[in-house]
């Protein structure tokens, strides 16, 4: 695909045969009323013309990719939400909604004592799903003191906790820009699977820090467990997946090649 042969290829974008390797595309030919991209393009000027020019290019790009495709696997990016996924999900999800109402009937929530600003309770906790965040707020033992400042801390303990939250959420949000590529299964990327397993475990161990005064262990030991435990689990996951990998990928590849042998 080059930039110079725009005129020669223009007719193909609307009228050309769609040759795909997965069978028919199901793309409906526009009826007589529908303007072609080219017609839309000539009617416009400036930015909107540029937009249509890009659309034309994008469409041609898709088509050429389809024609030239020698992919044996991975040519399906996704499969339809409706009806495949929705119907399957309905059957499973409605069952779980039933379970949910059953639990609600069996275990109604209690109502604690009314708010009393003058008596601080010994245990202050948010709902369980915020424990991880609450645990990160209690990381003040790890807030380093600086010798040049006579051992005083560079940032306050509370700010340190808030920053820990920001760092964790930011790292998770940034994930798709760090791990790219078409690999999907954990066995294909043992490193990232190990990160995931360690991270999930860390969300539990850091939640335990939130309830540190209920755990009969010294705080230093609890912090060690909270940070070293996930690393250990990550290393174990990595080793396990590396071991499994060869046999797993062999079976997977054999399945692909049996069904669609390479051209």
């Amino acid at each position: 695909m080059s930039d110079t042969d725009d005129t020669t290829n223009e007719t193909r974008t609307d009228g050309g045969e769609a040759a795909t390797d997965g069978g028919e595309t199901g793309i409906v030919a526009p009826d007589d009323e529908t303007p072609t991209w080219q017609e839309r393009k000539t009617r416009k000027s400036g930015l909107s013309q540029l937009t249509y020019e890009y659309f034309e290019r994008a469409r041609r790009e898709d088509q050429e990719l389809r024609e030239e495709s020698d992919y044996v696997e991975r040519d399906v990016l996704g499969f339809p939400t409706w009806p495949h996924e929705i119907i399957r999900n309905l059957s499973i999800s409605l069952f779980f909604v039933g379970i949910m109402i059953l639990i609600a009937a069996a275990l109604p929530p209690s109502l604690e004592l009314p708010a009393n600003p003058s008596s601080t309770p010994s245990i202050i906790l948010p709902d369980w799903y915020l424990y991880w965040s609450f645990g990160l707020l209690k990381l003040n033992p790890l807030n380093p003191g600086l010798a040049v400042l006579d051992g005083s801390k560079l940032i306050s303990d509370q700010l340190y906790g808030v920053l820990a939250n920001v760092v964790v959420v930011g790292a998770v949000a940034f994930l798709p820009f760090l791990n790219k590529g078409s690999a999907r299964r954990p066995v294909e990327q043992p490193f990232w699977a190990a990160i995931g397993a360690g991270g999930a475990f860390f969300s539990i161990t850091i939640a335990a820090i939130a309830v540190q005064n209920l755990i009969p262990l010294p705080l230093a030991l609890q912090l060690n467990i909270a940070f070293i435990g996930p690393v250990v689990l990550g290393v174990m996951t990595y080793a396990l997946l590396k071991t499994l990998r060869e046999g797993y990928m062999y079976g997977l590849n054999r399945r692909y090649y049996m069904l669609r042998p390479p051209k």
């Binding site: 939400t81 604690e112 798709p176 299964r185």
Partner: protein
């Protein structure tokens, strides 16, 4: 060619010519009778058209194409977690709207009016305890489902290339859901609520630059009181429902357009 001109629209003769069972005769006679009067064939065409439009692009899924079903079916419950979260969200929304008829966000009195209204819901309102129970459990279970949904998306690599923006949207949604839960947690104005609110204020105050401003905005000051309760109430029943519902619609819409990512 016969001499007598055939009437193309003489359905009765057409019916006689055909060799039909009684059931077929009754069905067709009824259909012709109704169709002559209401012309339902037009609407059938519309329906048919819609059917084919819906089923227009139905490529074989990756799972079907490579016959992976035998390997794959036991992961399906994890694939339904996103949909299940939406259902749980709807259950919470409906029960929450009903709870809203009885709850009043006022920190006046001793114990406060808010606390007493929740107590009234639990003890006096017919099925009030069930309503609050369903609301609370729906919220809890939705949070659990959302966390597991996030893990599923991580471990199947579904956040990758065409779907990064939806991952970011998911992060925003999960954070807003936690704020949703937190604001709801504060509404009964019991001991747990009050002290969880206290931590919220301290957390906001610890944030540099925007901290005090944020505490003023979200908690209505640095000590908890009527202003805090009303702000939490408005966040919980007015602002967050609109924002979160819109974002969920966008999240699901993007999934709809991009298709479900399967592991390969």
């Amino acid at each position: 060619m016969s001499l007598e001109k055939q009437d193309d629209y003489d359905h009765r003769t057409w019916l006689k010519r055909k060799d039909l069972t009684p059931i077929e005769t009754v069905f067709l006679t009824a259909l012709i009778y109704i169709d002559k009067r209401l012309r339902i064939v037009d609407y059938l065409e519309l329906l048919e058209d819609a059917y084919y439009k819906v089923n227009l692009q139905m490529p074989k899924s990756h799972t079907e194409q490579y016959d992976l079903d035998n390997k794959f079916w036991y992961w399906y419950p994890l694939y339904s977690l996103g949909f299940f979260s939406v259902l749980a969200y709807i259950v919470a929304a409906v029960s929450g709207a009903l709870l809203g008829f009885y709850y009043s966000p006022s920190a006046a009195g001793e114990p406060t009016v808010a606390y007493q209204s929740v107590k009234m819901i639990m003890q006096d309102v017919q099925f009030g305890y069930a309503l609050r129970s369903i609301h609370r459990w729906a919220a809890q279970i939705m949070m659990a489902a959302v966390f597991l949904h996030m893990l599923r998306v991580y471990f199947t690599g579904s956040y990758k290339e065409p779907r990064e923006l939806n991952w970011l949207l998911g992060i925003i949604l999960i954070s807003l859901s936690m704020v949703f839960g937190y604001t709801g947690y504060l509404l009964p104005w019991n001991q747990l609520a009050f002290w969880a609110g206290q931590i919220g204020v301290e957390m906001a105050l610890a944030t540099p630059i925007v901290g005090e401003w944020g505490a003023q905005l979200l908690f209505g000051g640095f000590t908890l009181g009527q202003a805090t309760l009303v702000r939490m109430y408005i966040l919980h029943v007015f602002i967050l429902p609109f924002v979160v519902t819109a974002l969920i619609a966008l999240h699901v819409g993007i999934v709809w357009v991009q298709g479900i990512a399967e592991p390969h």
